[in-house]
């Protein structure tokens, strides 16, 4: 078994939560991903079995959504929004500065064209699930120093 006992139990609970079990598939994949940081073929298959759908049905979700990953990733992911509202407020400078200052292999700095709904606090980035907003001046310096100390 690839999935932990607690994840398997949580998925089984989800299946019973919804009017139709297959609704649990996406949340099940997110739980499975939380176990190892990414979705291996084995984890996808086990999640599919627990929900009661073909493995291919789970795989096609895993490969579609941007928050699901089928390959291992560095432990710390920083995703910087570079869509128009953030670009107009210096997102490119932020990306350049982060990439120059943070060189640890355990930190991934990713540029995205997705919008995260923080345009009024641009430029911004997501560190894991956490929003880091208004990344200018001292706030930016603190963020960079935090990432450099990883």
């Amino acid at each position: 078994m690839t999935l932990s006992d607690s994840t398997s139990a949580a998925i089984q609970k989800l299946v019973a939560t919804y009017p139709e079990p297959r609704t649990a598939l996406l949340p099940a994949l997110k739980l499975a991903q939380a176990d190892a940081g990414y979705l291996s073929r084995e984890a996808i298959a086990e999640a599919a079995d627990l929900v009661g759908v073909p493995h291919s049905a789970a795989l096609e979700l895993a490969e579609f959504y941007t928050m699901l990953h089928t390959e291992p990733r560095p432990p710390i992911r920083v995703v910087v929004c570079a869509q128009l509202p953030c670009a107009l407020r210096g997102a490119d400078d932020l990306i350049r500065e982060l990439r120059a200052a943070v060189t640890s292999a355990s930190v991934e700095i990713e540029r995205t064209s997705e919008c995260f709904g923080a345009c009024h606090r641009a430029p911004m980035a997501r560190r894991g699930e956490e929003y880091r907003e208004n990344l200018v001046g001292d706030e930016r310096a603190r963020f960079i120093s935090e990432l450099r100390s990883v």
Partner: protein, 429 residues
């Protein structure tokens, strides 16, 4: 300062607040009074009629009359569902996030009222996966309301059951398209369905379903509590009633959410009086009013009133009322390339014109911006856009052509300069 100095905010009455209102705080502001009123003194049909009479139009972008949408649900028995569209992903849009983070009970009360009106016992709030804070706060508020007997089984001691479930997405703009949202909820790849049948007849699990935006439903408690007459006196009746949250971003001094009556201010007033003007006092080059999904408006349209009909008459759409301000230093070609990059990334791939077309549009825009464009590229952009628009299953394809067609038509000289000089004439930003 224009107009709305004496306007009493309805949806976000605590500007600047970032912490959620507790159940007690919400109740102290007449929270759940509408829910109590509906359950004890109104039939479901009366709730629908009140919402119809208010003139409330959907705040997600399309502006469809909300009460009319609810009335499409068949009165027959069997399961019905409410699906709340909280997949707020349009660039420049952050109003639903603030509503859910700060006013979770107002949202839940609206969801409960909609459920009661159409006879649904289960409602899903489909929230984008990145909005972790908002989702956590909604779940905490649901637990509070269930513990107080307001939601769940036998709401307020009646025979009405309303179970609200928060469903977290995983990163896909297309899930904001209502039938793709339903596919996602059903555990399938979120690709739009062909219609008919429409969701009111065959929606979630092939059962009748209402899909409403968060802000739309956040309006409903006040309509039921204070009456449609009061509500429709806000804004510009009969077609543009009620409050609206305007998301202001881009090159302005004070970006943020501003709640105002529909049609109360012009684009210029929103930018200058509320947004503190353009950074460094620069001139406006253009304003997007519906995120990146509708044509850009040029500076001669700045005196357009911010309501559905006025913005449409000016040549664009109010949509989600997400205003992105571009100043005179903004390279319009780069702006268009960024917008198209978004659509290329977010196209679900189901319809060939959108899947292939957005990729080609982005490629051509990028080469022009980088100084490698050819004179024929402008006609190529327009012709490619024509091959997408109206030839796909959902609105994303049409949205994707807006940044291109509108900027090529309105700023053709800027495109031509890039091509003639084989470089971008603007400073990088």
């Amino acid at each position: 300062m224009s107009v709305a100095l004496d306007y009493q905010r309805v949806l976000l009455p605590h500007p600047g607040r970032t912490e959620p209102l507790s159940l007690d705080e919400h109740k102290a502001e007449d929270g759940y009074a509408a829910w109590q009123k509906a359950l004890t003194r109104m039939t479901p049909d009366q709730v629908i009629e009140e919402v119809k009479a208010s003139g409330l139009r959907g705040r997600g972008g399309a502006g469809f009359p909300t009460g009319t949408k609810w009335s499409f649900i068949p009165k027959t028995g069997g399961a019905k569902y409410v699906a709340v569209n909280a997949d707020e992903s349009e660039p420049g849009t952050f109003k639903d996030r603030e509503l859910m983070e700060v006013e979770p009970h107002r949202v839940l009360e609206g969801v409960a009222l909609c459920s009661y009106a159409i006879g649904a016992e289960t409602a899903f709030i489909y929230i984008r996966g990145e909005y972790v804070c908002a989702a956590d706060r909604l779940e905490a508020a649901i637990a509070e309301a269930e513990a107080a007997g307001l939601l769940g089984q036998a709401c307020l001691g009646t025979s009405v059951n309303v179970r609200i479930l928060v469903f977290r997405g995983a990163g896909a703009y297309i899930c904001g398209e209502e039938t793709a949202l339903l596919e996602s909820l059903e555990g399938r790849r979120p690709m739009p369905r062909s219609r008919p049948p429409f969701p009111a007849v065959e929606g979630l699990y092939r059962r009748p379903t209402v899909i409403n935006n968060v802000e739309t439903l956040a309006n409903v408690p006040s309509i039921i509590d204070r009456g449609s007459g009061w509500y429709s006196s806000i804004g510009v009746p009969p077609r543009n009633t009620g409050p609206k949250i305007f998301c202001l971003s881009g090159r302005v001094n004070r970006p943020g959410n501003y709640e105002l009556p529909l049609g109360a201010v012009t684009i210029r007033e929103l930018i200058d009086d509320y947004g503190g003007g353009v950074i460094d006092g620069k001139a406006v080059k253009g304003v997007l009013t519906a995120g990146v999904s509708a044509p850009i408006l040029s500076p001669d349209k700045l005196d357009t009133k911010l309501d559905y009909d006025s913005v449409q008459a000016a040549g664009s759409m109010l949509g989600s009322a997400s205003l992105i301000v571009l100043d005179e230093d903004t390279c319009i070609v780069r702006a268009a390339a960024l917008m198209e990059e978004f659509f290329r990334h977010e196209s679900c791939g189901k319809c060939t014109p959108c899947r292939e077309g957005t990729s080609w549009l982005h490629k051509v825009l990028s080469r022009i911006e980088q100084g490698h464009g050819a004179p024929a590229d402008l006609e190529l952009l327009l012709s490619l856009s024509g091959e997408i628009s109206g030839k796909v299953l959902c609105a994303l394809g049409d949205f994707a052509t807006s940044p291109v067609v509108a900027t090529v038509k309105q700023f053709r000289d800027e495109y031509e300069k890039h091509i003639a000089e084989q470089r971008c004439p603007f400073e990088p930003w």
